[in-house]
């Protein structure tokens, strides 16, 4: 229980942040016109990841899956920025 809670809280933070960054990056004009509505989604997303983490079978699994998701989103974000030349 505690392990899943920690996984969701700790890894959910960068995951939510990077998902929003990715979403903004793909919006027209890198989402400048939508910055605040998208940032507003940060807390709902983070809390959603926290709540979702309790669905994992074990704490170890929660850490593993969320770490993989973080790595994947980080890679996507890095690739997007790299390919766009920024």
């Amino acid at each position: 229980m505690i392990a899943r809670c920690l996984a969701g809280t700790v890894l959910g933070f960068p995951l939510s942040a990077m998902l929003l960054a990715l979403c903004l990056f793909w919006l027209p004009g890198h989402g400048q016109d939508w910055l605040i509505p998208v940032l507003l989604l940060f807390f709902p997303l983070w809390v959603g990841v926290m709540a979702g983490s309790y669905m994992f079978r074990s704490g170890t699994r929660a850490w593993a899956v969320l770490a993989a998701a973080n790595a994947a989103v980080f890679a996507l974000l890095w690739l997007s920025r790299h390919l766009a030349g920024t």
């Binding site: 229980m1 990077m18 400048q32 016109d33 605040i36 507003l40 807390f43 983070w46 709540a51």
Partner: protein
């Protein structure tokens, strides 16, 4: 359909989040419900017929005096205007590399403390209780974390009740099973006011954790580019450089009137200026921004940017002329403060705020009730602790706020500054209530503290009505209506507490004896 093990998991999450955040949320909601009437409480403390006229000062006089005392302030400063119909005076803010704040009579001795100009204001103290439990800096972050936990409590609570949600939503089953009644009330309020609670969980977390959140988002995901993008997203005026040539800036009253006319021309029904900001005052490129509050739009806070010398309107960010960013930014405040729809929305927010406080209070009662041992006089130790804490802290907070009102009025009659007395009275009352709930049998403590609280609310209101007796025979102004409104709300709350005291007393004398809430401690299990 959810598995029963999943439901049990979220039940545990709901219990723990409730335990961690419930007390702080009770304070936030009770004080927050009162904060809806911030201006009215400020007027109650200091109505025009009792206030010292020295505090008020025309905006232009204040600007001239400010620039005389601090010539460097002209590059970047603003005046927070006095709210209409209230005795709360204006104050100045400027930034010459450091932030300064000053009231009209203390322009020469500015402070770097944002709260200093309003420290003696009861309304601001109630607001501080609401947003930070009255604890500077740390309290705000604490309440931000509480808001995040609150979000998790909402999600888990909804998931638990999702399976039987529709069937039970309108069920309120009074009868012998009191736990069922409390559970029904808790669920109905939680679900029916869910949109309101989602708004507070999200906007509350944002407002409290804004600074650390931004720093971390910048670090984790935005390559340090977030600040610039954010500044651009919320900008309400073009960026201008000083021309280096002097030119007279138009008088503040003219600029405010022009901004108001421009705002109303965009189609909003009202625009009450509450802040005027100057960049490069006295320069040929002086820039002025007038911020105001419009009702009947979610973009309540709007800004008009004007050229300081010509008075030409440069940008409009009001009502329908807001950008998407501006509209969302403004509606975060509108939805949180409930200032978008006049008195009706204020009363709605007041009632929903009290209902929210009840949600957390009933959550604690349910926690105790579900750990109650039936047919046993001995109840688990943790339920005693929870009962004492709930009675002491929750009722103590209600009592503490009444005590802060009383201390403010007393300090005013004695002619002393109320800043220390109102804080001492409030925190002292909470400490008293907690001690009382620990030392007395808790069922008696609940009844007696509720009765004391009821008396306190009614007494403060009656004393204030008597104190202003001369005013009621004069022609009424919006200020007298505001003061009367605060007093009547106080009496209504007092009646509410008296009703709760009576209900608790009936529960203790006539209800189930196998509970922490009974007077009949002498009844033993073998009886």
């Amino acid at each position: 359909m959810m598995k029963s093990s999943t439901i049990r998991t979220f039940q545990t999450v709901h219990t723990w989040t409730g335990l961690l955040a419930g007390f702080a949320l009770f304070v936030a909601f009770f004080a927050g419900a009162l904060t809806v009437f911030h201006h009215d409480i400020a007027t109650w403390q200091n109505p025009p017929w009792r206030s010292q006229p020295a505090r008020d000062m025309p905006v232009q006089t204040m600007i001239d005096r400010l620039l005389q005392a601090h010539p460097k302030a002209g590059a970047y400063f603003g005046i927070v205007l006095s709210p209409p119909g209230s005795a709360q005076g204006p104050y100045a803010y400027w930034n010459d590399g450091e932030e300064h704040f000053a009231t009209p009579d203390r322009l020469e001795q500015a402070t770097a403390d944002e709260d200093a100009p309003t420290r003696s204001h009861l309304a601001d103290f109630v607001y501080a209780l609401h947003d930070s439990l009255g604890i500077p800096v740390v309290g705000l972050y604490l309440m931000g974390i509480v808001s995040v936990i609150y979000g998790l409590a909402l999600v888990s609570g909804l998931l638990i009740h999702l399976p039987q949600l529709l069937g039970d939503l309108f069920a309120l089953r009074p009868g012998r099973n009191l736990k069922r009644l409390w559970q029904d009330a808790h669920n109905a309020i939680g679900v029916l006011s869910l949109p309101f609670h989602i708004v507070f969980a999200v906007t509350g977390a944002l407002m409290c954790l804004f600074v650390p959140l931004f720093a971390s988002l910048n670090l984790v995901a935005f390559d340090g580019k977030l600040n610039e993008a954010f500044a651009k997203a919320i900008a309400t005026a073009p960026t201008v450089e000083a021309a280096g040539r002097a030119a007279p800036t138009l008088p503040a009253d003219v600029l405010i009137a022009r901004a108001k006319a421009a705002a109303l021309a965009t189609g909003v029904s009202t625009f009450e200026p509450d802040y005027i900001h100057f960049t490069h005052y006295g320069d040929a490129n002086a820039l002025v921004q007038v911020r105001g509050v419009s009702e009947r739009t979610l973009g309540t806070y709007g800004t008009i940017a004007l050229h300081g010398v010509t008075g030409e309107v440069l940008e409009e960010h009001v009502g329908a002329t807001h950008t998407t960013n501006g509209l969302v930014n403004s509606s975060i405040y509108a939805l949180h403060f409930g200032n978008f729809g006049g008195r009706a929305v204020q009363w709605l927010y007041f009632l929903l705020g009290l209902a929210g406080a009840f949600l957390f209070y009933s959550g604690n009662l349910l926690w105790i009730e579900s750990r109650r041992k039936r047919r046993h006089a001995e109840q688990p130790g943790k339920t005693w602790v929870m009962a004492r804490a709930t009675v002491g802290i929750c009722i103590g907070t209600c009592l503490g706020i009444a005590a802060a009102f009383a201390a403010t009025a007393a300090a005013d009659m004695l002619g002393t500054d109320p800043a220390v007395p109102m804080r001492a009275a409030c925190y002292g009352s909470v400490a008293f209530a907690v001690a009382y709930a620990c030392l007395r049998p808790v069922a008696r403590a609940a009844v007696e503290l509720l009765a004391i609280t009821a008396i306190a609310y009614v007494a403060v209101a009656l004393l204030d009505l008597a104190r202003n007796a001369a005013t009621w025979s004069q022609p009424w102004t919006p200020a007298s209506t505001a003061v009367l409104g605060v007093d009547i709300a106080g009496i209504a709350l007092g009646i509410g507490f008296a009703w709760l005291a009576r209900a608790s007393w009936r529960r203790a004398t006539h209800g189930d004896v196998f509970s922490v809430w009974t007077h009949a401690r002498q009844v033993r299990a073998e009886a």
